[in-house]
């Protein structure tokens, strides 16, 4: 009989690590499964093994994860790295998590589940984004953190804090940034002014953000108000075409990195049929959850950027709150703890989420980016363009799931991660419905590929 864990945490980023520490300290049997080869999540990726030179390039926020990472590594919980979770289902004993570990299929049982799998970059479907030589800014950072690799020369395109952070890191590392093409709509700056009050409640971050924004503008060819982007090139990238104030420009380059913010990952929760909500402020779907992270499915919690985007510090606090939530009604939590520590953390969650509103409003993606041109490939896996999608929606299909069946968009290996949001945008625009009324693409196993042979041998619990 397989062990039934008291708490299974998916993801070893700030939220997952904090929750695992909290619950294992309380004496629960805890298992943490993580996709990466070392703990830390995207933010502290490879922090345990990073070279000094890497750490200095990556900046102080990166190194700040050290204490948490050390505390997690010392915690009395089971931790498995390089795990590909491909399926989750409800089970008579709680939840069954099926995964591939080192080429072998493994299944884990748990009574409670925490989804702390983090976020992903918002897909930026511009014409030519599928050509070799286009990467995401997130990819750029991962290459720097895990592989200490950086481009010789690059054009950065899009909007959002991560793009600016990468620019800063690349600049320090000596990368030639040919240009930053900023797609942030100028009106965002006006709309963001009322949110300054929220941002001021987190003055340190606000200051860092302002500094980051200004420095790049001074030190790098910085072009703002960019629209109508198109990646040029036949087989590979040869340049980027863009428009500023109705004038069209070209810039030659072989590498482009795109970014327009990050969005919550909802695949696992959707597979469990947790309720979803459209977050208008963050322009993405989210797993519906209360302050302790409990979703609509009893026993399933979410914490960190996988729930609501808020960054590492908020994720860490949310992870702690979720862990506390798991052990809340047990004697290990003292009344004092319940009253003061828990209340304080809850307050911090609310406050930091509010403060995040400034970033959300300032870097809200430009509307034209959710309206890809007809020839733009929206579903990369099945090579479906916006024209095909629009014509099928126009013929009267009910929503994205119907659309998927008729066009194959969303059927590919990425499970709709790269096209789902844009398909919904196209449905909403064509049917003139608000996004909140359009259903997200449904999610079915496998979340990551598994051979039929491996599946045939899957341990049934």
């Amino acid at each position: 009989m397989a062990q039934i864990y008291d708490y299974l945490v998916i993801g070893a980023g700030p939220a997952g690590m904090a929750a695992a520490i909290e619950t294992s300290n309380a004496g629960l049997s805890v298992l943490v499964l993580d996709q990466a080869s070392s703990a830390g999540g995207q933010i502290y990726r490879n922090l345990g093994h990073a070279d000094k030179q890497q750490t200095s390039v990556l900046g102080s926020n990166y190194g700040a994860g050290k204490p948490l990472l050390e505390c997690f590594m010392a915690a009395n919980c089971d931790y498995q790295s390089s795990v590909q979770v491909w399926h989750i289902e409800t089970h008579t004993k709680g939840f069954l998590v099926a995964a591939i570990v080192a080429g072998e299929t493994k299944s884990f049982l748990t009574s409670h589940l925490l989804l702390a799998h983090g976020a992903m970059e918002r897909p930026m479907a511009i014409t030519g984004w599928h050509k070799p030589g286009v990467l995401t800014a997130g990819a750029g950072q991962i290459l720097l953190k895990s592989s200490a690799l950086m481009p010789k020369e690059v054009v950065l395109v899009g909007s959002g804090p991560l793009l600016l952070l990468l620019a800063q890191q690349y600049r320090v590392a000596g990368v030639a940034i040919k240009a930053i093409l900023d797609t942030t709509p100028k009106s965002n700056y006006w709309y963001a002014i009322p949110w300054l009050v929220a941002g001021l409640t987190n003055p340190m971050e606000l200051f860092k953000g302002l500094w980051l924004t200004l420095v790049q503008r001074i030190k790098i060819p910085y072009i703002s108000g960019v629209s109508h982007l198109e990646v040029m090139g036949d087989e590979q990238v040869s340049g980027v075409k863009y428009t500023v104030s109705d004038r069209v420009y070209n810039i030659d380059c072989k590498l482009v990195m795109l970014h327009q913010g990050i969005i919550a990952q909802t695949q696992m929760a959707q597979m469990l049929r947790c309720a979803m909500v459209w977050n208008e402020r963050q322009q993405c779907w989210q797993i519906k959850a209360d302050v302790m992270g409990y979703t609509s499915i009893p026993g399933v919690q979410v914490a960190g950027d996988g729930g609501s985007i808020g960054g590492a510090l908020l994720a860490q606090i949310e992870g702690r709150v979720a862990g506390m939530g798991r052990v809340f009604n047990t004697p290990v939590v003292s009344p004092w703890h319940k009253k003061w520590v828990y209340s304080w953390l809850r307050f911090r969650v609310k406050q930091l989420r509010w403060a995040r509103g400034l970033v959300d409003r300032l870097y809200r993606p430009a509307e034209w980016l959710s309206k890809p041109a007809d020839q733009t490939i929206v579903c990369r896996c099945e090579q479906v363009n916006a024209k095909t999608i629009r014509s099928i929606v126009n013929s009267g299909c009910a929503g994205v799931n119907q659309l998927k069946r008729f066009t194959r968009a969303g059927m590919g290996a990425c499970q709709g991660r790269q096209c789902g949001l844009n398909l919904s945008h196209l449905v909403a625009q064509t049917q003139q419905r608000p996004m909140a009324e359009v259903e997200p693409l449904s999610v079915r196993p496998p979340l990551s590929p598994i051979n039929l042979g491996q599946l045939a041998k899957s341990l049934r619990l």
């Binding site: 995207q42 992903m120 990467l135 990819a139 991962i142 590979q236 990369r380 590929p449």
Partner: protein
């Protein structure tokens, strides 16, 4: 394919031997397979099964499934989630290469 577009941050990194499309190469240690391919100048690593267009690694986080290559004989592995090991054999899926 001899266009080297990426640098390694550390000058003194240990080298690791790998085999790409049958050619023995040296790359810095601790790279993912996708990073190693970029380091060696391979922006494209496969052809799209529908259109035949070239595709290359995109997100490096396991989301996009663009970086599929054959690793040690196993087809369609995500290069970004696999770390290189000494003498690993990597084959890109491009016409005329295999």
């Amino acid at each position: 394919m001899s266009d080297f577009l990426f640098n390694h941050l550390l000058d003194d990194a240990h080298q690791c031997p790998i085999i790409v499309n049958g050619v023995a190469c040296q790359v810095p240690e601790q790279l993912s397979v996708a990073a190693a391919l970029l380091y060696l100048g391979h922006l494209a690593n496969r052809q799209h099964p529908v259109s035949g267009e070239l595709r290359g690694s995109y997100c490096h986080a396991g989301f996009c499934f663009e970086c599929l290559v054959a690793i040690d004989g196993q087809a369609n592995k995500r290069a970004c989630l696999t770390q290189i090991t000494p003498n690993m054999s990597i084959n890109t899926a491009l016409a005329g290469v295999n």
